[in-house]
């Protein structure tokens, strides 16, 4: 609604300087200029935070006692366990991870509908690492103009050495990125030693190699092309945004027609606020011109806002010629009305719906986590033979029973049976002599014990009788599980 009127035809192809449409065009290297401002500082803080989370998390210790690893966050693929602080997830509970992913997805929806592509602009690893690499460029080759000059310069020895130096820094960062990744999959302190002494698993070296390569290529060379051509998220986000989502907006109604200060002085009143200094383009890490309107290449990092604010301050015009604004606010502003209140922008049915779905999934998962049983029985009736005739006229059935102890301590468990007339139960550890209606066994910490369980009952009775095998923790009658099985007898003549 109102899109046509609120956004002037800046992205009409006729307005582009070069009307020739080509099917393929070589990438033009982006050399963003250094800028400082409140959004740049926010980016620094978020970069520091996200990198810190990435590098430090595997090193946080979490005491789980003698039977489980003491790494706070550990994806133990080898033993098929997933640890996250106080939570341990078994493979069959992977839906918790799925739930987390769904929450992450809906969280992104919420973030997008409220503050636009904030994820792209600040927190996405591609953005963060590209930012790091661009700072490396700046450190080695100087700022925008120097880098552009060097780019165009012929390949002299000097340039080669510079490039090799820069690429080795790239490689170094890329290696540490890949190196940190594997720490999530094994005990970090042990793995570091193993890695450098050549004793780590081949998959560890392969992972580091692959991630080093992808970081080196994506962060060092592909950069904004990943966002523009490879990533599906910008497309999805375009669909997620509406007239109330914050987006970086060039206020063309205020800025156009653009003209230099000199021109503006010569013809007062005929030019807008934009002095056409091109600073917004110079600082853009994806190399776009925000004045062409909202576009897929804009990751809303807001560095152009910083650049424009600075210029506006210098020329003595009000800040915010480029600013975060919703489409609705743009329209209001154009009409000379005040912005709608921020609570109306943030709390609208859409964001409230996302928030409630997000919370509902979170609460449901917390509830399920709090109530999950850490003990489990699964029994399989033997198929061959289905039953065994015993000498005393009784019939025996055998079951393969898996007892799951999901706690980090050995547990004594009682296997019992329900309603099987005259039935007794014993396991491969015991014998039929003295067998009763239940048996106890100890299952070691955090593991599955496999038992062969035998059930004998009188030979007279139905050919197939349903009953159930139960397991109860000896130390906690509340912790129990049941599995329905059946008992087979020979066909009666």
């Amino acid at each position: 609604m109102g899109l046509e009127t609120s956004v002037p035809v800046m992205n009409n192809p006729e307005n582009f300087p070069d009307p020739e449409v080509r099917l393929y065009e070589k990438r033009k290297a982006v050399h963003p200029q250094r800028i400082d401002g409140k959004f740049r500082r926010l980016k620094w803080v978020i970069m520091a935070l996200t990198l810190a989370v990435y590098y430090i998390t595997p090193w946080i210790r979490w005491d789980r006692g003698p039977y489980a690893p003491n790494q706070a966050v550990l994806v133990d693929l080898a033993n098929r366990r997933f640890y996250m602080f106080g939570i341990e997830i078994w493979p069959h509970e992977f839906y918790y991870v799925a739930g987390l992913l769904v929450m992450a997805g809906i969280g992104l929806f919420l973030l997008t509908s409220a503050v636009g592509r904030a994820w792209c602009g600040y927190a996405c690893p591609q953005t963060v690492w590209t930012d790091v690499f661009q700072h490396v460029d700046r450190f080695v080759d100087g700022d925008r103009n120097a880098r552009m000059r060097l780019d165009k310069a012929p390949w002299t020895a000097h340039k080669t050495v510079r490039r090799l130096f820069k690429w080795s820094i790239y490689l170094f960062i890329a290696f540490w990125t890949g190196g940190a990744w594997i720490m999530y999959f094994a005990d970090a302190p042990t793995l570091v030693v193993d890695f450098w002494t050549g004793q780590a698993a081949p998959v560890a070296y392969a992972s580091v190699a692959i991630l080093t390569a992808t970081t080196f290529i994506f962060g060092g060379f592909m950069r904004e092309q990943v966002c523009i051509y490879m990533c599906p998220w910008p497309r999805i986000q375009t669909a997620m945004m509406d007239e109330n989502s914050l987006t970086v907006t060039y206020k063309d109604w205020r800025g156009e027609p653009r003209g230099s200060l000199k021109k503006a002085e010569a013809h007062p009143g005929s030019f807008g606020d934009c002095v056409d200094c091109n600073q917004c383009v110079a600082v853009c890490p994806t190399g776009i011109d925000i004045r062409e309107g909202p576009q897929i290449g804009c990751i809303t990092c807001a560095l152009c806002i910083d650049a424009c604010d600075r210029v506006m301050a210098q020329v003595g015009r009000p800040r915010g010629l480029i600013d975060y604004a919703t489409l609705e606010d743009s329209e209001l502003e154009m009409a000379g009305k005040p912005h709608s209140p921020i609570r109306k922008t943030l709390f609208r049915p859409r964001t409230i719906l996302y928030t409630s779905i997000w919370c509902a999934i979170g609460l449901a998962m917390l509830f399920a986590l709090g109530n999950r049983t850490r003990i489990d029985i699964s029994a399989n009736h033997d198929r061959n033979p289905v039953y065994v005739q015993l000498a005393d006229g009784h019939v025996r059935n055998s079951y393969t029973v898996n007892l799951r102890n999901m706690e980090n301590r050995p547990r004594e468990m009682i296997i019992g049976m329900t309603a099987l007339e005259g039935g007794v139960i014993w396991s491969n550890e015991g014998s039929r002599e003295g067998a009763g209606q239940r048996l106890t066994t100890t299952v070691s910490a955090d593991s599955v014990a496999r038992l062969r369980v035998y059930v004998a009952a009188p030979g007279t009775g139905p050919e197939r009788e349903d009953f159930a095998l139960t397991v109860t923790a000896a130390d906690d009658p509340e912790a129990r599980d049941i599995d329905e099985v059946f008992f087979e007898r020979p066909e009666t003549d």
């Binding site: 033979p385 000498a391 025996r396 491969n428 550890e429 003295g434 106890t440 593991s447």
Partner: protein, 320 residues
Amino acid sequence: MSEKKRVDEPTGTETVGHEWDGIEELDTPMPRWWVWTFYATIIWAIGYVILYPAIPLVNSATEGVFGWSSRGDYAMQVAAREKELEPIRQALVSTDIRKLNGSPELLQQAIEGGRSAFKVHCVQCHGSGAAGSAGYPNLNDDDWLWGGDLEAIEYTLIHGIRNPDHDNTRFSQMPAFGRDGILQPGQIADLVSFVRTLSGKEKSSAAAGRGAGLFAENCAVCHGPDGKGSRDLGAPNLTDAISLYGLDRASLTNTITNSRYGVMPRWGQRLDPATIRMLAAYVHSLGGGETLPALEDVSEDTLDQVGDGARNIGTGNEQS
């Protein structure tokens, strides 16, 4: 059709020289990367032909410098696995079978090994679930003709049953009472009635009463005066619910008239001792295995030395 090659102006590429209704084909050169990849595959192929079996000849193919073959590869894998298992086999053979129960881990490995060997050597008669069939004993039940502890099972495996050329084989033979004219058909009918009363299949009757006398004269020598059989002779217990050939009148009459017995090969001359021990452990584990009388002799020290097993399954049954 014009055969004259010309250069296409917009692209600067030569055409192939054919023209169909004004449509021409550009003779675009292969991309350089493609050509180099193609050369690389040629070099690779030459190397492959030299190193690996490649050119088919009349009876075989060229062997290649590496001498690789899929059969050889398989043999190597088998040998490697055998080598891995060797310590277990050694340990099995050197452990007293009466003490095998004391090392749960070794026992479990023996059972798993036996499970595999059983599928190769035993299923032909005893069935894949070891449940047997008429004339072939069910190894899951608790009724044993020659004994069901580990030692007895191993003995049976090594020496077989009723091997005519072997002194230590388990041997017994029931006379063919009817066929050889020892008993008359009427007597056999009486005997059948009596035998069926032993396992409660039939109520006492006059015929069964007459059969009791015949049983004492002809059968009790092996099957015992109470019909409970003898494991020394492999004589089945006639009082239980299990029988090898069936307890219905027709089956029993046939058995007494013609005498029926089975034969099992002596695996001692076919299999190595470790495999036999594995088979014994497996058969014993099927649910009917009996405790060794000698197990009480195994001291606590021995059990302590063995340590904890592969699986932490603690105590056995609990009386309720």
